[in-house]
């Protein structure tokens, strides 16, 4: 009798289990708007394969001493700094040093511009040399970079206002960068005295995603490539530790990561916040909308997207002046960071915000209040808002 009851209970239990939906018992796929990774729409089969190869190299390849790591380094893999393709964490913050004006970095012979603050056993990590200025850089999110990379220099220059000709207190200048030897200008680049407009990085010091990727391999992980064969420890050219194919796959992966998707776009408070964002002239620098020209990747061609950046440098004055710079930027000038995906930043930062260039702002409001210089009027206007209006503005920013 007891045995039969046991059997019946097991059969009932198994039946209930089998009738439960697969989604419930085998985990649910997160909504696409809640995650940053994933490819853009419209990739061909071959492009999807290249995306996947780049995905593996970016998110799974971990370097060790045997595969070329270091000996001095900051991180052991790409994903160490960009969990879920999102923003970084103070643990992975980079330190750059050695350049305090537009004359260039005076400490290149001492390991500048990047501090390799970690080392393989038996080696000592770098220290910031005496007298060198420095700044900490929080790793940015990777998503949507292909859309920004697809824009033409002409589009960026069209909104630059280096002399503030419209007297709105906001200038906006491109950072002209001396290209690395491997840089190959595309039809949409414009040369200016041997330099090109930088688009990526806190100071817009990287011209394109290849430039950014090669530097990250070399400076962040101590991995040489044929593009950048110089070992950061010995200063000697050594054999490539990552193949061209892998580097190109990672670049392709970064180009074709989807743009962050808006959330709660139809929420009345979000829409009210969007209006406030415009009224406060935040959108003068955090330019909401761009449209790409033709592209070799069909999924990137002629697309309108919403990064909330103008890719230009703006003076934030002393509050955000760390005394360090890159390219032609002043030490107080920073490239307008894209705001898209900022609402998902917590998902890669351990459930909390680390905002602005070095993660010093622990909330969106703190980040707003730390603005100065060209953003001073906007900040002052924000402070005049009611509590409810401030909440709507923050809610809008979190919807990006």
């Amino acid at each position: 009798m007891k045995n039969n009851i046991c059997l019946i209970l097991i059969i009932i239990g198994l039946s209930l289990f089998m009738t439960t939906s697969c989604e419930d018992i085998l985990t649910q796929e997160p909504e696409m708007e809640d995650i940053l990774d994933g490819p853009i729409d419209g990739l061909s089969s071959s492009e999807s394969l290249e995306f996947l190869e780049g995905d593996v190299a970016f998110n799974e390849q971990v370097f060790t001493a045997e595969t070329g790591l270091g000996p001095l380094f900051v991180a052991t893999s790409c994903v160490s700094c960009h969990a879920g393709d999102g923003k970084g964490h103070p643990f992975t913050t980079l330190t750059r040093f050695g350049q305090s004006d537009v004359s260039g970095n005076q400490f290149m012979h001492l390991g500048a511009p990047q501090l390799q603050n970690r080392a393989l056993p038996g080696y000592l990590p770098e220290q910031i040399p005496s007298g060198a200025s420095s700044a900490k850089f929080m790793p940015p999110a990777n998503t949507g970079l292909g859309f920004l990379a697809a824009l033409t220099d002409a589009q960026i220059l069209a909104i630059a206002d280096p002399f503030d000709s419209n007297n709105d207190g906001i200038s906006g200048v491109p950072n002209y960068i001396t290209p690395p030897s491997f840089f190959s200008p595309k039809w949409f680049h414009q040369e200016n005295n041997g330099k090109y407009i930088g688009r990526f990085g806190k100071k817009a010091a990287a011209i394109d995603l290849l430039h950014q990727t090669v530097n990250a391999y070399n400076q962040d992980m101590g991995i040489t490539s044929s593009f950048s064969p110089r070992d950061t420890y010995s200063g000697l050219d050594i054999d490539p530790e990552v193949s061209n194919r892998t580097v190109n796959n990672v670049v392709f992966y970064l180009r074709t990561l989807k743009a962050p998707l808006r959330r709660n776009q139809n929420d009345a408070e979000v829409q009210a916040g969007e209006a406030l964002f415009s009224n406060l002239k935040c959108a003068e620098c955090h330019k909401p909308q761009w449209t790409t020209p033709n592209s070799d990747i069909a999924g990137l061609a002629n697309k309108t997207f919403y990064p909330y950046t103008d890719l230009l440098l703006h003076d934030m004055e002393s509050g955000l002046d760390d005394g360090y710079t890159e390219g032609q930027a002043q030490t107080s000038e920073w490239r307008t960071p894209p705001l898209w995906g900022i609402g998902l930043a917590k998902k890669s930062q351990g459930g909390q915000y680390f905002l602005l260039h070095d993660g010093r702002a622990r909330s969106i409001e703190q980040a707003i209040l730390m603005h100065g210089g060209e953003a001073l009027n906007s900040k002052n206007s924000y402070q005049q808002l009611t509590t409810g209006e401030k909440q709507k503005l923050v809610k809008f920013i979190e919807s990006l």
Binding site: L26, F73, S80, A83, K347
Partner: protein, 408 residues
């Protein structure tokens, strides 16, 4: 050498298959019925086939299963695995001298490992010698890992990723046992080859002790010349259960090369507690293990690689049916449940003073059917939460597994 070994085993198995026809030639050795066998006796507490008058016993076990898993809703579909087939041969060479070996074929022969190959010299119940390839007695699972003994298809996470079970090395040592009435006390202690610096330099991007298993040269020479020491003591009361405490420690890095010091000596130390019992009233079997690992990771290295780890599991197995089924006498049906937790990086970030996560939690309810104690058919449902070092939302993996494991 391995090929010769395999050929010899194949011959023996052929002989045993033929011999099975004549039941007078083959005897299945009985398991310890004193109920005072300990985890450390597991290598000999297996069903062996004795071949007539030959001084050799052979045996083995096999595991196979199918699984269907999804991570964050994305599945790679159904797959079929044969994680391992193991053959063991035991031989009484002379009175008080015996040899036992265990060779494992993993994943269809992708890997072939000699997990155990030791000569035992029995001098006194309290003092015996063992040498060869020994299984380091850390925790309970490493010594008592045969698939047919478990109601769960996957091995415990902490027992395979903090304690790198099955973890065996070339070494020598002593062991002994003392029994009186309902009590038995035992000890083991070994010197052996050990870990290497891949434990903090590997593709897992975390301190990963199993990385040392990739170094097959550890069966030929010690990585740094400093022996790994493993010691365990266990106490068992027939009515209460078995409690074990063990330690394994040594230097893992290459601190000198050609007489030139290149680093300081860096230690890895593991402490483990294990317990198992059967609740007499309900015949509920409870088995648990917990381990702490301490690794001297250079301060200048990445905090990605933890200097402390901890983890463990508890299994609860409840027989719910014991009767004759399809002619199998005393076959049993069990409900089983496993909870496990592993933290690969115990500590706080220097930058934020907040907890470093990098942890895994899992639950595994299951049901198993044993037509005999040597064969188990099992179905598990498994749910795993894996959190990255920053403590972001965990990735969730869940799936269903069905399989069997049997001694043969």
């Amino acid at each position: 050498m391995k090929l010769l070994y395999i050929a010899a085993l194949t011959l023996l198995l052929n002989y045993s298959i033929q011999a099975q026809v004549d039941s007078t030639k083959v005897v299945t050795t009985q398991k310890d019925t004193t109920k005072l066998a300990l985890n450390m006796d597991a290598v000999y507490a297996r069903p062996f086939l004795k071949l007539g008058k030959l001084p050799i016993s052979i045996g083995g076990y096999v595991e196979a299963n199918t699984s269907y898993f999804a991570t964050n809703g994305i599945t790679e579909g159904m797959s079929f695995q044969m994680p391992r087939m193991t053959l063991f041969v035991s031989s009484t060479i002379k009175n008080r001298i015996k040899f036992l070996s265990e060779i494992e074929f993993e994943e269809g022969g992708k890997e072939i490992n000699i997990e155990f190959a030791s000569l035992d010299v029995e001098l006194h119940p309290l003092f015996n010698l063992r040498g060869g390839i020994i299984m380091n007695p850390i925790g309970s699972f490493n010594q008592n890992h045969d698939g047919p003994k478990w109601e769960f298809i996957d091995r415990p996470i902490s027992s395979t990723t903090i304690i790198p079970s099955t973890w065996s090395n070339v070494g020598f040592g002593i062991f002994g046992k003392y029994a009186k009435n309902n009590l038995v006390w035992a000890y083991e202690g070994y010197f052996s080859n050990g870990f290497d610096d891949t434990i903090i330099s590997n593709s897992q991007n975390r301190t990963w002790l199993p990385a040392a298993k990739e170094n097959k040269e550890r069966f030929e020479e010690n990585f740094n010349g400093v022996p790994l020491i493993t010691a365990k003591t266990a106490l068992k009361h027939r009515k209460i259960g078995e409690f074990g405490i063990s330690w394994m420690g040594g230097v893992y890095n290459k601190f000198q090369e050609d007489g030139i010091q290149i680093d300081k000596k860096r230690r890895v130390d593991l402490f483990a507690l294990d317990f198992n019992t059967i609740v007499p009233k309900w015949k509920t079997y409870i088995n648990a293990e917990w381990v702490w690992a301490y690794i001297d990771v250079p301060d200048t290295y990445s905090q990605q690689f933890g200097s402390k780890q901890k983890g463990g599991f508890i299994d609860i197995v409840q027989p719910i049916l014991k009767r004759d089924v399809l002619g199998w006498q005393n076959s049993t049906l069990n409900l089983a449940f496993r909870m496990e937790y592993t933290d690969y990086n115990v500590g706080t970030f220097n930058e934020t003073n907040e907890n470093i996560h990098d942890d895994v939690m899992a639950i595994t309810p299951g049901i198993s059917f044993r037509p005999s104690s040597q064969t188990v058919f099992r179905m598990n449902y498994r749910y795993i939460w894996e959190t990255d070092i920053f403590g972001n939302d965990p990735s969730k993996t869940a799936g269903i597994q069905f399989g069997f494991s049997t001694y043969f």
